[in-house]
Symmetry: C2
Amino acid sequence: MESKYINEDLKRERASPPFDPEALSVGIYGKDMFPKLVRLQSIFAQNDRLSLRHIWSCDAKTRYLHACRIGEELAYLIRKHKLIDDPQIIGALQVMVGEDMFLLLHLTMFLSTLEAMCNEEQAKYWVPLARDFRILGTYAQTELSHGSNVSRLETEAVFDEETDEWVLNTPSLTARKWWVGGLAKSCTHCILMARLKIKGTDYGVHPFILQVRDLHHHRTLPGVTLLHIGQKIGYQGMDNGSLHLQDVRIPRRQLLMRFCEVSKEGYYKTTGSRKLLYGTLTFTRKQIILSAGAHLSRSVVVAIRYTAVRRQFASSTEPGASEQQILSYSTTQRAIMPLLGMAIAFIHTGRWTDSVYQAFKEEGEKGVFDGLEEVHLITSCLKAYMTLAVAEGIETCRRACGGHGYMQASGVSLHLVSFLPQVTYEGDFVILSLQAGRLLLKAVGNKMAGGALKEGLQSSVRHLYDFDPTAAHDLQDVTTENLHCPYWLVKAFERRSSVMVYQTAQRFASLGGPAALSAFEAIKVDLTKLTVSHAQLLVLRAFLSQIEALKKAGEVPVYRVLLVLFRCLALAWMDEHLAEFLIGGALGLSSHEAVKEALTASCKEARKTAVVVADSFRHTDNFLNSALGRYDGDVYRALLESTKAEALNKEDVAESYERHLQFILHPERKIARPKL
Amino acid sequence: MESKYINEDLKRERASPPFDPEALSVGIYGKDMFPKLVRLQSIFAQNDRLSLRHIWSCDAKTRYLHACRIGEELAYLIRKHKLIDDPQIIGALQVMVGEDMFLLLHLTMFLSTLEAMCNEEQAKYWVPLARDFRILGTYAQTELSHGSNVSRLETEAVFDEETDEWVLNTPSLTARKWWVGGLAKSCTHCILMARLKIKGTDYGVHPFILQVRDLHHHRTLPGVTLLHIGQKIGYQGMDNGSLHLQDVRIPRRQLLMRFCEVSKEGYYKTTGSRKLLYGTLTFTRKQIILSAGAHLSRSVVVAIRYTAVRRQFASSTEPGASEQQILSYSTTQRAIMPLLGMAIAFIHTGRWTDSVYQAFKEEGEKGVFDGLEEVHLITSCLKAYMTLAVAEGIETCRRACGGHGYMQASGVSLHLVSFLPQVTYEGDFVILSLQAGRLLLKAVGNKMAGGALKEGLQSSVRHLYDFDPTAAHDLQDVTTENLHCPYWLVKAFERRSSVMVYQTAQRFASLGGPAALSAFEAIKVDLTKLTVSHAQLLVLRAFLSQIEALKKAGEVPVYRVLLVLFRCLALAWMDEHLAEFLIGGALGLSSHEAVKEALTASCKEARKTAVVVADSFRHTDNFLNSALGRYDGDVYRALLESTKAEALNKEDVAESYERHLQFILHPERKIARPKL
């Protein structure tokens, strides 16, 4: 393939943008983060060991092997460039790899659990080993029949006073650990979540550290049975495993003792807040939120570039009239421009969530946990909504690529199946939105009972305290100016959300309130809707605050383009959830035409610079791994090239002919059908 | 595995249903169809050659090979049982196979095109060959850069008067035929859609029949280049191919001449309506509509059975309280019960569409094509909406299965990736909904111009003619009785749809109407929404008419259960598109609570018999191909069993250790990193 070719449409789209693309990149990623990304990219650049091209055509086993090759290279690079000390760069690296595998879980879930759950003595021993990859670990919690309800896990650790050991067992078929990433073939250790039992007393689920394979030959240790759980529709780089334990013994000190201690005599003592026992999950959710925007942006970039290159249907009825770029269709713009806004908004939201989490963690180190509820509300609500929105967004991008979007070589189809598990793992959408919804009701309950706004919850639910459900709402028909104004839009989202929360609280109370399980059951669906509305509000706030900062910093051209994308996103959400805005009195019944017009106009405006904005994410062709989304736009040649990797193209007549097809065409060749 | 085990929860769910399950099966499939399905099932029963189990774990190449094995078996069975004469049974068989491959395309697209497009003489020659599988064919239309815009296809057939032949060429990179199912490795022939050119005149795209492989050894013929287009995220049983033609010559008579003829002298003559030139696409869309309900029902059955077996979270806070079936959560019911209704409604809609199509075809044989527009409206609108709804419905079912839903062994994840291309192929959602939306506007335009309802369009758009946009609407707050009444619900859907169509027509006119291309661009998004609303109306009508028939036939218990499912579906759609009902004045602003209550109550009611209704689809375990949806509910053992097929479980220490992992754990073992 020629290397200098650039598709003519893309050239034109890229000519004379009304802003400096690098300034936009800084606006997207932030001043802190942008240079780190540039540094990482220079480390990654032209590194063939990190290539993802094999994913288009290889089988699952080979893909796992290649993921291990990538893992090896990452460990090498992390050691060489001493990256382990910068959690931000490690986070960015995890996304930039474009393929998930044991090594990333080792960093996200294993190392972070050790850092959070070990006491000082334990940390001194385990953390350096994990940081230097001298052990490779994962996090074993989910069992075959228990995921969401952690308190019913069956795996047990029984204390044997005589030997000062824990005796570990998965006592039934359904107690087997299941889904544990990297545990099948890759890891040597895991954090084992198991019921801690001493002298017949069950103290509930606790974290232990368990070695599963020897460090010299990688063989499974006695009493341990590891299985690969089999194939998934994507995500084949990750060897998800199952773990069966039969009377496996580990020293007492392999209970992670930051928050509780067990003495030689079997005396159980709490030494810290048990509230943080599931801290790994909160941390992991925060990481998921932090990377959601990048995942979405990958598919959005592919869709924008491809729809700029793909032409279909003439723009006029004159014979010989040239066909239009699909990107110029209003239907394409309506589908993709809000997602472009969403990708950037989610990146900002991720950074905001990270800062909330860091502040909480710093307080925690001083023994203050006031912010726990807020952090739980924010992370559950955003994790639940954002993963769903990204999964749906990727699928929308895939469909925008038409038939070719279904090819692995499109990239987006692979993004889709790789991302789908995020909707479920580390907290399923329904379970997390129920938890978040409950906390929203609790805030209203507190206010109605005369309570004041807790400082910790300030940023997230202040509007619920400010809202007066009894006040008459002076509803006016919406104007174009209103819909143009980001502050007005955020207020409308606040009102919609407030009305929903108060209406649900009322309904809950009328059904019997917290005392009645049936009342909770009856409002579950509403709670999931509260979560969506609250999440959208948080996202818009985070996005707007970033846009304001750019304006203040004098970055006017960048500010302008992001403001247009803010409108695309906010108006698309308003259009999608219109009934909630009508019912909440945030919009008058006849406002829908105005919303539609404003949305269409914003999407049309956003389309003008869409290709340059897409470029500003600075995704490399290797990260996109897409024949359709490549920077040069040489899509059809790339699709043709991609067929070279297909095994069935190696010979003209396939094995299928000899074995089956000939007997369809010539049944007489099969004299007698053999018995199976 | 024990064969007599039945999960206790499923046993209880199945005990004493309030209706006769077989009567419900008849109610779902219809009196005509049900015995045919039973016959097919007896042919399929216990036939290991048709097993799908390999799909859980095999690679793409093996899956294609197994699909050919299944194809061979199907051809054998079709010949043996002389099934080819019954299009209904062939249609049902195609779904029941549970895997798509060349042989099914041969039946749907190749054979049907020959039957429709050959003149008498041609039909005499080709049809018997195709019916007896002496040739295997497919339909080659889409090119690398053209799918939706058929009129811009580039492949050409130039008439050579001297030799009385067509000279076929794909004159550019982008002209290559692409995506053609079965063409890579399986088929011997194809219908080639190519521009017909005579003496420099371009007569547009016409169907030709072209042989691509020899019948003796299956080798590619001279001038023909066939390629496998590479891997997709699913659907690996189908070998989608690419075709390049260089000066391939075929006799003049291989132009299919039902609607036009070309004489030896190069004289082009129309002999029938060109309107039917793309009849294959209409037929194929009808087939897609006909099978959509069955595809959805497969995932719904899995989700219902698995959520009945899966238990999570205690139903009370007492210690030791047993956990609840997930099926009992209001959130699960809200997600799945409307889909259960939708699956049945779509089956009915499929049968109704089939009857409309058959009537049209019969008229066509008499040379009457008055119904063409109606058939096009109905098939485009339903194909566009139903495939999208099924894809989203399958994904909802997959998520309801939690983490395990991501395994291939879950079945639903495979249903998802297998079904996704249907949203795009044979008419992308956007393109078809624009066409359907335009026809709706045309109906309104006709009425406004004083035109009368055309008989042909009667069943589908009568409400648009009956609707008076100028009349004041006497809007009352909705009552529970209203929401219970299926006739009231259908009226509400009619009103919503009518208001939307009239508002869009008004907007279109104010923007310049059909004369202005920009006006059409501006209403495109609205047109897609019109299509959704019209499709939902057609589905509810078809469903209700079937329910009424059951009531008239005295099938009261079956009538009752279907009526509950009708409500679940109609109310869920109402809830989802609430704003359109509010704006259309079909519901008052304060009606949303009543809709919510009625929907929750209907879903709760439907849940009571959900397992028995699921059983009544009579899907075999082989067709479901799901560890989670098996009839006996032995899900956890089945998941554990499924790991036996995983290649990585064959050895304890994987190749990855030797090649990569050891160098992460022991970097000192790699003395010098080899250059790549």
